[in-house]
Amino acid sequence: MIYVEDKNLVIPGQILADDDYYPGRGTFKEDGKICSSLIGLVSLRNKKIRVIPLKSKYVPKKGDVVIGKINDVRFSMWDVDINSPYSGILPAFEVFGRDKKELNKVYDVGDVLFLRVIDVDEVKKAKLGLKGRGLGKFKGGIIVDISPTKVPRLIGKKGSMINMIKNKTNCKIVVGQNGLVWVKGDEDMEQLTREIIHTIEVEAHTSGLTNKIKNKLCLAIDGELPVEETEEEFVLEKPKLQNFKEELEQEEREKAEAEAQIQAENEEIQEAEVEEESADADGEAEAEEEKEAEDKPNFYEVIEELKKKNQTKKDKNLSYSDNSKNNSFILNNR
C-alpha cells in the first residue's frame, strides 16, 4: 500500500508506504511503515521510494568534483573550505609530487580551486587532489552558491539547462557537486547568470522551469521573448522495469551518465582557464579516457571498463563508480 505519489512534497515522519515497498534514501522503516526523514519530493521508481531533499549540506564523497577555497596554508598541506560541515585538505604531495616547494607561492589563502575528492576518511574529512584535466585554480569570474541538492537541476537533463545558460550568456560555467558554481564571462552576463542560477535554485521543484529560464534569459539579453517553439514539455519518465535489480542497474547507469555529464561540462570550459599542473602527466591520460567516455553513446559500458582499468592501476582518483552507492542527484534531474 502506498500513500503518496511521485513528486509529492513530504515532510519528516510522514508515512509514505507499507513495507511492500523498498525504503530508499531520505526514508526509514519503522513498525512496517516506510516514512520520510526529510522535507523533500517523493521519487518513486517501481517499488522503491526515496525522498529527494529540498535542502541539504554537502557531505564529501570520493570521486566528486568540488569547488574549494584555500583557508590556510600549513607545513605540508592546504586547508580547503569545501562548503560542507567537513573541511578538506590538499596535501602538498598531490600538487608537487616529491618536489619541495613553498606552498603559498603556488596557492595562497583565498584562492579558489576546482578539485577532486580523492578520499574521505572515517570522520568525513576529505582528501583532495588536482590530478585530472580541468582541475586547478580559477582566475577571475564569480562564485555563486546554491544548495548542493539543486546541482542536478542546474545541470538539467543531459546538461540542457546549463548549456542553454552558457550559450545565451556566453559565460563559462563550472559546477561543483558541493553547490558552488564558478561563472566567468562579460561582467553584466556574470551577474545575470548569478540571478538565473538563484532563480533555478528557488524554483527547482516547479515544472516548466527550463522554458521559464529560457524566457528570462531572452528577455534580459535580447529584450524580447524567444520565438514560440513547440517546446517538448517535460515528460515524466516511467521506466517499465520488472524487478528491483534491474531498477538499481538503471539507476547506476543514469548516475554514471550524469556524472560524466558534469565532468564533460566542466572540462570543456576548464582547459583554457586553469593553471596547468606540472605534476599532471597521468592526470592528462585519465582525462583522455574521460573524453572517450563522453563520446561513446553508452556511458555505462565505458565506465565499467574504466572501473576495471582503475582497479588494476591502483589509482583511486578517477572512479565514477565508487560513490554510486549514495548519490542521489540524478533523480532530481527532470
Binding site: 522535507i39 535542502k55 549540506k57 560541515p85 567537513y86 521543484h205 516547479t206 515544472s207
Partner: protein
Amino acid sequence: MSEMIREDGRKYNELRPIKIEAGVLERADGSAYLEVGGNKILVAVYGPRESYIRRLLEPNTGVIRCRYNMAPFSVDDRKRPGPDRRSSEISKITADALRPALMLENYPRSMVDIYIEVIEAEGGTRCAGITAASVALVDAGIPMKDIVVGCAAGKVNDEVVLDLSEVEDKEGQADVPIAIMPRTGEITLLQSDGDLTEEEFQKAIDLAMEGCMKVSELQKEALMKKYSTE
C-alpha cells in the same frame, strides 16, 4: 466541568490562536516564526556544521546544541540580557526534547545549533519554542523521524485545562508542559510544576497530547505552505 469558560473566554480544551511560518530568515540554514496567544518566538537553525568545541562532538553522529533566550523587552519588567538559570534549564530540556527525533548518523562530528529567541512572552514559551524549533529544523533540511511538537495542560480553579496563558500560569495550581513525537505518541519532554492528583495528572497528559496533535497539524501546514508549488 466542560461548561467552564476561562478568563480569556476559552473552553477547557481550547488552544490560544496560533500562527506558524517557516523559512523567515535569510542567513540561517533553517528558521521559523511562531505566535501563540501573546507569545512571539523566532527560531534559527545552523548546521550540520563544523564546530571547534571538540569536547561536544561525537564520533558516530551529529550533535545538537540549543540556546533559549528571552529578549529584554519580551516581558513586563525588562529582563537583563544574557542567560540565567531558567533559560539554561529550558535550553537543556529543549535539546533533550528534540534529540530523539533527529537522525544525524550521516553527519558524524558535526553540530546543529538551534537558537530560540523569545521576542515576546505570554506563558508557555518553552512549548512554543520546541514547536517552532522543530519547524526550523525541517526547514534546514535536517533528517528527522518526526516533527516534535509541544503543548501544556494545567490546573486552574481545580479544573484541568489546555494551554495555560500567562495569567492562568501565575494563578493556576499546576502546569504540565509536554512534547511528543506525534506519529508514535512518544513523550520527549515532561515537566510538572504544582499540585495534581494522579487522576488529574493523567487527564492533563491526555489533554496536552490532544493539544499537541492539533498544533502538529499547523506545523505541517506551515511547511507545506512554504514549499508547495501553488
